[in-house]
């Protein structure tokens, strides 16, 4: 894919476990295993809603402002809110410094993430307003767009904006012929395919789907199934993260 320079590291080892051949990844994960995931909601005091999401070494901060008055005014739509979305990588988030100016990649990802969110946010409840969703990739280790959309939907929920469902995302890859869940940067550099997927898990709807790379048709079907399972797990973690914040708030209130 990215075609990393230099020697290709060993990414998949085949080990005997309980009499079965099992593919073990460079970081010890199994093919269908997620990285350690951490989520925290309400991390910024100025934003109406915010969330920090980590998928292994990938760390994304999302903040939501709004619904608020659309600026400039002519941008507002009479029958719904406009969603303004920015996916951006910090200059220090990557191995080589990334220019802070928006790249073509960031323009595209901002678009596909916005389109994914449009499908779940009940924009018709907030006519003539703007909902601003800002995502900053603080550290990049693969799967940044899916971590970003997971964080964005948590931030929207934290802002109290009505949604049909949360959005959870994960990238599936094909590494040395093996389909793997939650691909990281080293794997992505040498992968035959990288497929980010985001879904509204409870509705069973696909909101974001891209495939960079090559898959046979049956591999694609398997990859979708792998993504769906991963997304269900992430969805549970999202609900826990939201509950964690709001349960605490209620308890504090009780003490007073």
């Amino acid at each position: 894919m990215g075609g990393g320079a230099g020697e290709k590291p060993v990414l998949i080892r085949w080990e005997e476990r309980d009499g079965q051949k099992v593919a073990v990844r460079h970081d010890g994960r199994l093919a269908a295993q997620l990285r350690p995931i951490r989520m925290e909601v309400g991390v910024l005091s100025n934003a109406d809603g915010s969330a920090l999401v980590e998928y292994g070494g990938t760390r994304v901060l999302a903040a939501v402002y709004g619904p608020r008055e659309a600026h400039p005014r002519h941008m507002a739509l009479p029958d719904r809110a406009v969603i303004r979305c920015r996916y951006h990588m910090a200059p220090f988030s990557t191995a080589e410094r990334k220019t802070p100016a928006p790249t073509r990649r960031e323009v595209e990802l901002s678009k596909v993430i916005r389109e994914a969110l449009e499908a779940v946010v009940l924009t018709e409840l907030f006519p003539r307003t703007a909902i601003d969703v800002y995502m900053e990739v603080l550290q990049s280790d693969g799967g940044t767009r899916t971590a970003a959309i997971t964080a964005a939907s948590l931030a929207l929920a934290d802002a109290g904006i009505a949604m049909r469902d949360l959005v959870a995302g994960v990238a599936v890859g094909k590494v040395d012929g093996v389909l793997v869940l939650d691909i990281d940067e080293i794997e992505d550099n040498y992968a035959e395919a990288d497929m980010p997927v985001a879904m509204a898990p409870n509705l069973g709807r696909v909101l974001l789907l891209q495939l960079n790379g090559v898959l046979a048709h049956d591999e694609f079907v398997q990859a979708m199934e792998l993504a769906r399972k991963g997304i269900q797990t992430i969805y549970k973690l999202q609900k826990e993260a939201l509950r964690r914040k709001y349960v605490e708030v209620v308890q504090e209130g009780d003490e007073q």
Binding site: R80, R104, E115, R205, F220
Partner: protein, 330 residues
């Protein structure tokens, strides 16, 4: 920053009801079946000035693509590969919704999806575009120019990009003191192509998937899926584009339909572009033989070079290294 587009198409929205009623009977507004592709016409080498070009008509949609070349240093991480650049312009004459200015997010997305679909499956043999590893390689620019927008810009642009690459020839590289100069008057070989890739776009309208949507259909569609399929039936890229969602099973059937329907576009390339490619390959072969018979290769100043700065031609044409390598490849 990506912003909900303000353009609210009123007329197509009014037509939505008609469209939905027709779709439930398996017919579309223009009389096509749900999985029917509009008439395809490809004119290879539409622009003679370009190293390769193609004009594609897909129904009323018109897209022109051109290939230009130059010689540059390769990227540090790929010293043994040429460089491929895909760029798309939605020129304002193509649609009332297009405006002058730098490419917007739609044009950037389209160019990037086509770029990935070509790159990941190695459609162009970039490893055969090296003059000196790590120092001088060919760079191919594929510039996509949308001339009339009647929906499905992805498929039309992908066809145009692929057809322009298939009809492209590499000019002679002349060795100079500090590198190479491109002699655009003469050509050595066709651009090496490993695989042919097309995209198949499906729009979801009222729970139905339609192939090759028109502009009106795109305006009322919930969302679209673009699936790149190679000539050996593999999936070379996917992009869900547009607001709205797809059910899980709709994604699977969209991809299945796309893999199936790709053959129509592949056949168009085979029928309308491959004969042209064979013809220019034959021409290049005869020219080369004549030169070999003539003995010394003389440097002819190429025509149409009014903008070029005078270049000191220090060495003879470095055709031998080039064509020698080529011979082993053929």
């Amino acid at each position: 920053m990506s912003i909900t587009p303000p353009f609210q198409p009123v007329v197509p929205k009014l037509k939505r009801y008609t469209m939905e009623t027709l779709l439930s009977r398996g017919v579309r507004l223009d009389g096509r079946k749900l999985d029917e592709v509009r008439k395809i016409e490809i004119v290879p080498s539409y622009i003679e000035r370009a190293e390769g070009s193609a004009l594609v008509r897909l129904g009323q949609t018109v897209v022109l693509a051109g290939v230009k070349t130059d010689i540059v240093a390769p990227f540090p991480d790929t010293p043994n590969e040429g460089v491929l650049v895909v760029h798309a312009e939605f020129v304002p004459l193509a649609s009332p919704t297009f405006e002058p200015g730098p490419p917007d997010e739609n044009a950037i997305e389209l160019a990037r999806v086509i770029d990935r679909s070509l790159r990941e499956i190695k459609a162009v043999a970039l490893d055969q575009l090296v003059l000196e590893p790590g120092k001088h390689v060919w760079r191919l620019f594929v510039d996509i120019y949308v001339l009339n927008h009647d929906g499905n810009l992805f498929d039309a642009s992908m066809l145009a990009a692929m057809a322009s690459l298939l009809s492209a020839r590499l000019p002679v590289a002349v060795k100079t003191e500090d590198g190479y100069r491109v002699d655009r008057g003469r050509f050595t070989r066709v651009v090496p192509v490993n695989r042919r890739v097309v995209t198949v776009t499906l729009a979801k309208i009222a729970g139905k998937l339609v192939v090759d949507p028109t502009y009106e259909e795109e305006q009322v569609a919930d969302t679209r899926m673009v699936v790149a399929v190679s000539d050996d039936g593999r999936i070379a890229g996917i992009q869900k584009t547009g607001m709205g969602d797809l059910e899980y099973r709709e994604v699977l059937s969209a991809v299945a339909i796309a893999v199936n329907k790709a053959s129509i576009y592949h056949k168009a390339l085979e029928d309308m572009v491959l004969p042209y490619r064979a013809k220019i390959e034959e021409e290049l072969r005869t020219e080369k033989t004549e030169e070999a018979v003539g003995g010394v290769v003389e440097l002819q100043p190429a025509p149409h070079r009014e903008h070029e700065e005078p270049v000191e031609i220090a060495e003879v044409v470095d055709e031998e290294g080039q064509s020698g390598e080529e011979g082993s490849r053929e």
